[in-house]
């Protein structure tokens, strides 16, 4: 029967090695996912609501449109 201190040293060794291996394994997986993502183009999502509806635009007051546009610009700056 080995002494407890020896066992503790062993356990510490397993801890360091184990955490190292887990991190290395999952890091390699991160790189792998990155490579696959480069070769797989993102799926094209149709966004019908992104297109401005002509009827709605016609009804808007041009001054209001200008106000909104400047507000957006200020917000983004």
């Amino acid at each position: 029967m080995t002494s407890i201190s020896e066992q503790l040293v062993d356990a510490l060794g397993i801890m360091i090695m184990g955490m190292g291996l887990v991190f290395i394994f999952l890091s390699v997986l991160i790189v792998g996912i990155g490579i696959v993502a480069k070769f797989c183009p993102a799926p094209v999502v149709a966004k019908p609501d992104a297109l401005p509806s002509p009827i709605a635009t016609n009804r808007l007051d041009p001054k209001l449109v200008a106000a909104i546009t400047s507000a957006i610009h200020q917000y983004r700056a």
Binding site: I4, Q7, L8, D10, A11, L12, I14, M15, M17, G18, M19, L21, V22, F23, I24, F25, L26, S27, V28, L29, I30, G32, I33, G34, V36, A37, C40, P41, A42, P43, V45
Partner: protein, 376 residues
């Protein structure tokens, strides 16, 4: 009169021992938690009933040839039940959130620190008189910190079969207690400002990426960690069946009928390990304490890693999602979402937490593989 005496000698009343009554009480407690409190009822109910059956004097359920004896030897000693469950979990898991934000794999890795710290703790507990955990015992106890039932049962059946009952009960009880154990630790380690950080919306993930992912995981496991292939292999098989979309029937069976059937027998077989002779020992107390410690350290390590990522990314990562790195899918992710909502009512972290959550499943399978490779 003689017939009556013979009958009396066969009744339960004449043969009850105090330990058996106590263990039946434990079984009833598990049933209460499952039925009245809704804690992991799918497992605690069969485990609780199994505990009652296993402690009936003269019933012979757990003796050679009995139902529970067969369930244990066919399903758990061979490791088949936990592996079938793992296949079902794979078929139930959507890796989309993880593939969209692969860095969360690091959170799943950090949370495994709970496992390895507890390994040290279990050996240190040998300093207390009455405890004598070998290194394999310690490893089997430590895996409770992985917060993954099937992994814990698989590793315990390989490394420390005599501790299996206590380990399985501890693992599933703490998984049920995630909503109570995690929030205080999460709040202690983060500031309200950090908790209310909103994260960017995840990108769309193509079907091809989702199909390649399980194949890639298996490939890496084959190359670097063959000891983990039983767990990771079955998990990825289930996931490939789900994502490929060509075997819907198999995928549905793995997700529903098969996992349900196996769960019944797994629960009964684990319950059969709760017989008075095997469970009522000082070691059980140590295992319950160590399990809670493992869980807490894992949560803390995940949150701290997420804090580091938050600093490095300039405040784009909410540190709470690190807590989901201890698998316990999907409970841990839901807890993260709830704590996040408390800090900011418009902050939905569920999808962001699913990434580290499923990463935690992979992480604990890898950690189990490392322990098996070193000690098995």
């Amino acid at each position: 009169m003689e017939g009556l005496m013979a009958f009396w000698a066969e009744t339960g009343i004449a043969h009850f021992e105090a330990g058996q009554l106590l263990m039946m009480g434990v079984g009833c407690l598990l049933l209460y938690l499952a039925i009245a409190r809704g804690f992991e009822p799918l497992l605690l109910l069969p485990i609780g009933f199994g505990a009652i059956l296993a402690n009936i004097p003269n019933a012979g359920f757990t003796e050679e040839g009995g139902l529970l004896w067969y369930a244990y030897h066919v399903g758990i000693e061979t490791g088949i039940f936990p592996l079938l469950i793992f296949m079902g979990v794979g078929a139930l898991t959507d890796f989309g959130a993880l593939i969209a934000n692969p860095k969360t794999l690091l959170l799943g890795a950090a949370a495994q620190f709970g496992i390895f710290a507890t390994l040290l703790g279990a050996i240190a507990l040998n300093l207390v008189p009455g405890f004598e955990f070998s290194m394999t015992d310690a490893a089997a106890i430590a895996i409770i910190g992985g917060a993954d039932g099937p992994t814990a049962i698989f590793l315990a059946s390989k490394l420390a079969p005599d501790l299996l009952g206590a380990i399985a009960v501890a693992a599933y009880s703490y998984m049920a207690l995630v909503p109570l154990i995690q929030p205080p630790i999460m709040k202690l380690l983060t500031t309200p400002a950090e908790r209310s950080i909103k994260m960017e919306q995840l990108r769309e993930v193509s079907k091809r990426e989702k199909i390649i992912f399980p194949l890639m995981v298996v490939g890496l496991t084959i190359l670097f960690l063959p000891a983990a292939t039983p767990l990771v292999g079955m998990f990825c098989l289930g996931n490939l069946m789900r994502e490929s979309g060509v075997v819907d029937r198999l995928s549905k069976t793995a997700q529903n009928e098969l996992i349900n059937i196996v769960t019944i027998f797994l629960g009964l077989a684990v319950g059969s390990k709760l017989s008075a002779g095997e469970f009522l020992r000082i070691e059980t107390l140590g295992i319950l304490v160590l399990g809670a410690v493992a869980f807490s350290i894992g949560t803390a390590a995940g949150v701290l890693m997420a804090k580091l990522m938050c600093k490095l990314s300039g405040g784009k990562v909410n540190p709470l999602i690190g807590a989901a790195g201890v698998s316990a899918v999907p409970m841990a992710a839901r807890v993260v979402n709830k704590v996040g909502l408390e800090a900011n009512h418009q902050n939905f972290l569920l999808m962001h937490a699913m990434g580290p959550n499923v990463a935690g499943v992979l992480g604990s399978a890898v950690a189990a593989g490392v322990l098996l490779a070193v000690l098995g």
